[in-house]
């Protein structure tokens, strides 16, 4: 049998972690990426990476609590075994990254320093300055470069994955890709292909994501038969800096230090904000949430900013949506001391000093919780079976998905600093499974008949030529992309309404048809970025449709998916008896809703449309419980809910209560 090899698509944290671990196991790796690995999107992450650690442990933390926070934050929509395995591994992942030379910030004594992030009470987050993602990525990139100089890893940078190659049984035996410089289309034989291609923020036009985050590789695999899970769960961050090209993140700490969010009461008041008198300013968060003010949880802040601009028409500017985030009432020196790092980002990209001029911010699409459906093998204890080839495999045999492009770890909403973890964890964990997969096979892709690959290449070449030959003067791909972004941003971000989603879905179908009539402004065969972009644009539609259809069908509120028409009510009763009755009804409704909707959305592509199906979620380890943050009557509901859990647990064969024996108090998970 000829030597087997694995193709990894994507040089972000997930792809690099998988590549280095595979190389260590003695497997030859091809690593393909649109950009040099070192320039992958993972460099953008600033905040940090989570794990339970020696210090938090002594304050009562454990891997189990990290697991609990993660599934609670995700509104229980993720299968629990993969999450449990990930949080069990988290301390080990950080120790490994430490050994690889990541410049984590240190305590005075020389230990790794930690900060606190949203959705938890513990200081779990390790960080390297304000560029944690960059530092983690570089450490992995360096290891892969080491294997590259040993000849175990071969890099194909500036290549675009066009699709998997499947044999007559639907087994993946390699892929077809295109060289972005020479435009050559060729096949790559591989005994397994691992997709680590990140998120799909560009479907929304502009987001906090990088330019290659189009979701193209995922969409191409979806169109080849892999299913797509939980597409409608898209995380929107409340405060980003709107830019003509990108929406850049502005950290929540600006509000933590006293920043106030407001808009002029008159829409598009042309005056300099500093000349607008106090009584003509609308501090909408402070007015609507007197208790929490500007520090309402992120999902609420996001919704209110959105509502004020989109439905209230009170955006600061006419041409685009934004509100003021104002720090100018705080002493400038104090601001420099406490917020210097993030304020300089604003200054660098806006050319304005936020210590003296209010910042203009707006929520931005930030992360895709959804992704390719992936399998796992559960152990009796509820973790993952190490070395099982089932872990992370998609519906297409021998095609795997890891990192942000799988659907597995974050459910309805991702906690901050958990994504870098899931990327590195899934990359490391998938490797022994692949090793066993290769061992179990009797033939190698290298021995396959050439006709399989030639046929696949021919098909992609024909599609490519057809695009180049499109008549001139038709649709413009860049403008279609803008339209798609506007449509998606309007209908499927913060607040979702069925009438809008329905209209958006029809508009999306129409836009897809128009996109197929795009003319190219470059028909050459050398570094043709125009045709590469147009292909990525066409492949955005299957995912966009899955997001819209998934959101349309899901009549509930869960995690990042908020439909006001299906919101769980606050309690309104005046006396204790009324409240108690309402709380009972609330809990009934909560159970009934979970019965119906505590299910992953799983989409299958039928050539023109996604067919949506639902899959039960493995919640066998921690019983789903309500998130009650900011709800009137939360205490009563919680009491009733606890009593019911206790009653169930007392019954023989009743539900297992959470292992830690406690139910978290109300609190909104943040990202």
């Amino acid at each position: 049998m000829a030597k087997q090899r694995v193709m990894v698509i994507g040089g972000g944290l997930a792809g690099l972690a998988a590549s280095m671990k595979l190389a260590e196991l003695g497997i030859d790796v091809d690593l393909m990426s649109l950009t040099p690995a070192k320039r992958s999107h993972s460099v953008c992450a600033q905040g940090g990476i989570n794990s339970c650690n020696d210090q938090t442990r002594q304050l009562g933390d454990s891997e189990w609590k990290h697991f609990d926070d993660t599934v609670y934050g995700g509104d229980f929509l993720q299968h629990q075994p993969p999450v449990k395995e990930m949080t069990d591994w988290a301390p080990k992942v950080i120790e490994l990254m430490d050994r690889l030379g990541v410049t984590f910030n240190r305590t005075q004594e020389g230990f790794i320093d930690r900060r606190r992030f949203g959705g938890t009470l513990y200081k779990r987050t390790a960080f390297a300055g304000a560029t944690t993602g960059q530092q983690l990525l570089y450490a992995l990139d360096e290891q892969v470069r080491r294997w590259e100089s040993d000849g175990k890893v071969t890099k194909y940078e500036f290549w675009d994955f066009l699709g998997p190659v499947l044999d007559e049984n639907g087994v993946c035996l390699g892929c077809v890709a295109q060289d972005l410089v020479t435009m050559e289309i060729r096949s790559f034989r591989a005994d397994a292909v691992v997709l680590a291609t990140g998120g799909c923020g560009l479907i929304y036009g502009r987001s906090t994501m990088s330019m290659v985050c189009t979701g193209s590789a995922v969409s191409r695999s979806f169109q080849a038969g892999a299913r797509y899970g939980n597409g409608e769960f898209i995380q929107v961050h409340p405060t980003a800096i709107p830019g003509a090209d990108k929406l850049r993140l502005m950290s929540e700490s600006a509000r933590g230090e006293g920043g106030r969010v407001w808009v002029p009461r008159t829409s598009q008041d042309p005056r300099d904000p500093k000349n607008i008198p106090e009584k003509e300013r609308y501090y909408f968060l402070e007015e609507r949430y007197p208790e929490y003010g500007n520090l309402v949880p992120r999902d609420i802040a996001t919704r209110e900013i959105f509502d004020t601009c989109v439905n209230g028409g009170l955006s600061v500017e006419a041409g685009r949506q934004c509100v003021y985030l104002d720090l100018t009432h705080i002493d400038a020196d104090e601001l420099t001391r406490k917020l210097g790092g993030i304020l300089s980002i604003y200054e660098k990209f806006q050319g304005v000093d936020p210590r003296f001029t209010p910042m203009k911010i707006f929520p931005a699409v930030h992360y895709s919780m959804g992704g390719l459906w992936a399998d796992y093998e559960r152990t009796a204890e509820g973790g993952l079976q190490p070395g099982s080839p089932r872990n992370q495999v998609t519906d297409i045999p021998n095609l795997y998905a890891i990192g942000e492009c799988d659907y597995q770890y974050h459910g309805g909403n991702r906690l901050g600093a958990n994504s870098l973890l899931s990327c590195i964890f899934s990359g490391l964990f998938v490797a022994p499974g692949l090793e066993n997969l290769l061992k179990s096979q009797s033939s190698s892709a290298a021995d396959q008949d050439a006709s399989l690959y030639e046929g696949a290449v021919r098909q992609h070449q024909e599609q490519h030529q057809a695009l180049l030959k499109r008549p001139v003067g038709k649709e413009n791909p860049y403008l279609i992309h803008q339209e798609l972004g506007d449509l998606m941003t309007k209908a499927a971000t913060v607040v979702r309404r069925n009438d809008q989603l329905e209209a958006a879905y029809s508009a999306c179908i129409e836009l897809h048809e128009r996109a197929q009539k795009c003319s190219l402004s470059d028909t050459g065969n050398w570094t043709n970025q125009n045709v590469v972009f147009t292909k990525a644009l066409l492949d955005m539609f299957p995912l966009a449709k899955s997001i819209l259809k998934g959101a349309l069908q899901r009549d509930e509120c869960r995690g990042a998916h908020f439909k006001p028409g299906f919101k769980m009510p606050s309690l309104t009763g005046e006396d204790a008896g009324d409240r108690r009755r309402e709380a009972e009804a609330w809990c009934d409704r909560f159970d009934a809703n979970n019965e119906k909707w505590l299910k992953s959305t799983v989409a299958t592509w039928n050539d023109t449309e996604p067919d949506i199906d639902y899959e039960d979620v493995d919640t066998s380890l921690i019983t789903p419980r309500p998130r009650l943050y900011g709800l009137a009557g939360a205490e009563v509901i919680e009491r009733v809910w606890r009593e019911r859990q206790a009653a169930k647990a007392d019954r023989p064969g009743g539900n297992r209560a959470t292992k830690s024996g406690e139910t978290a108090t109300a609190g909104a998970a943040t990202s």
Partner: protein, 284 residues
């Protein structure tokens, strides 16, 4: 209509962008002018995006869109380096308002000159990554199994290492360096890709490493585990195209967008190589 930019200056309705273009390697380069409608908060990337969406020159001629490189758009990935109004820097953090303040008439964009041209503003920076292999810019760990935490490190050590580890391989320091010469090979007729690649790497390996790779060698030689192969890195620094090529012109440090103390690194590497040379001589 004369609007004002976000920092209060009068802004034009539109402005001109002059781009040095080249269709492919070995082809002649030429200037082309485009007119772009002014918008608030534009950077050079959004200018290039507008040009891509409407590829007409000032003369009204339809042309092929301009090719350029970018990804993060936040000055952390290093992809979008080019010469803007004559200064090598990142296009994503080059704000139109500032550029027009310096020169209200036009913005010029040119590719870097020290790397082989691919097309328009895209160049091939493979040599820069090859330099990182030459100096073994990695920590030689035993394995990726769980072996406990890394060595304890002081705050001072972290604070010295962190700035060096921010190098995003953007190429600015090499573009500005008078000692860094372009190495450009063309594939011979009948030469296969693998052979060409080998020949190219050999050519790279004989040429100057550049300030960034020298600084990475210093970074890893200071790492508690990385220093276990410090000698091999110093050998690389002393070899052909090593630190002796540096003429100490200090251009590199002036253009580094991450403000990496490159000349300090070079001086440190110089001292270490001298010691290493003496030691190797005594150990003979």
């Amino acid at each position: 209509m004369a609007a004002t930019s976000s920092n209060g200056h009068a802004t034009p309705d539109a402005f001109e962008v002059r781009i040095l273009r080249q269709a492919g390697p070995g082809q002649h380069s030429y200037w082309e002018r485009h007119r772009v409608k002014y918008e608030h908060d534009m950077n050079v990337i959004s200018v290039l995006q507008r040009i891509a969406a409407n590829t007409k020159t000032v003369e009204g001629k339809s042309v092929a869109p301009v090719a350029w490189d970018c990804n993060c758009l936040e000055e952390v990935c290093g992809a979008c380096t080019m010469a803007i109004n004559g200064h090598v820097r990142q296009a994503c953090s080059a704000l139109v308002d500032h550029l027009l303040e310096d020169n209200p008439n036009e913005i010029t964009l040119e590719p870097m000159t020290k790397f082989p041209a691919l097309r328009d503003l895209c160049v091939d920076r493979g040599r820069l990554f090859r330099s990182l292999q030459r100096v073994k810019a990695w920590v030689p760990v035993d394995s990726y199994y769980d072996l406990g935490p890394g060595p304890k490190q002081s705050r001072e050590e972290q604070e010295a290492a962190y700035p060096l580890s921010e190098c995003m391989s953007c190429g600015c320091c090499m573009e500005a360096c008078p000692q860094y010469m372009k190495v450009e090979l063309t594939q011979n007729e009948g030469e296969n890709d693998a052979d060409f690649e080998t020949r190219q790497q050999e050519a790279y390996d004989g040429a100057f490493l550049g300030a960034a790779a020298i600084s990475q060698a210093v970074l890893f030689n200071a790492n508690p585990t990385g220093k276990n192969i410090a000698g091999e890195r110093l050998d690389a620094l002393m070899g052909e195209g090593g630190i002796q090529v540096c003429g100490n012109a200090q251009n590199c440090v002036a253009v580094c967008p991450k403000e990496i103390p490159l000349t300090t690194s070079i001086a440190c590497a110089g001292r270490s190589t001298t010691r290493h040379a003496l030691k190797s001589w005594f150990d003979r």
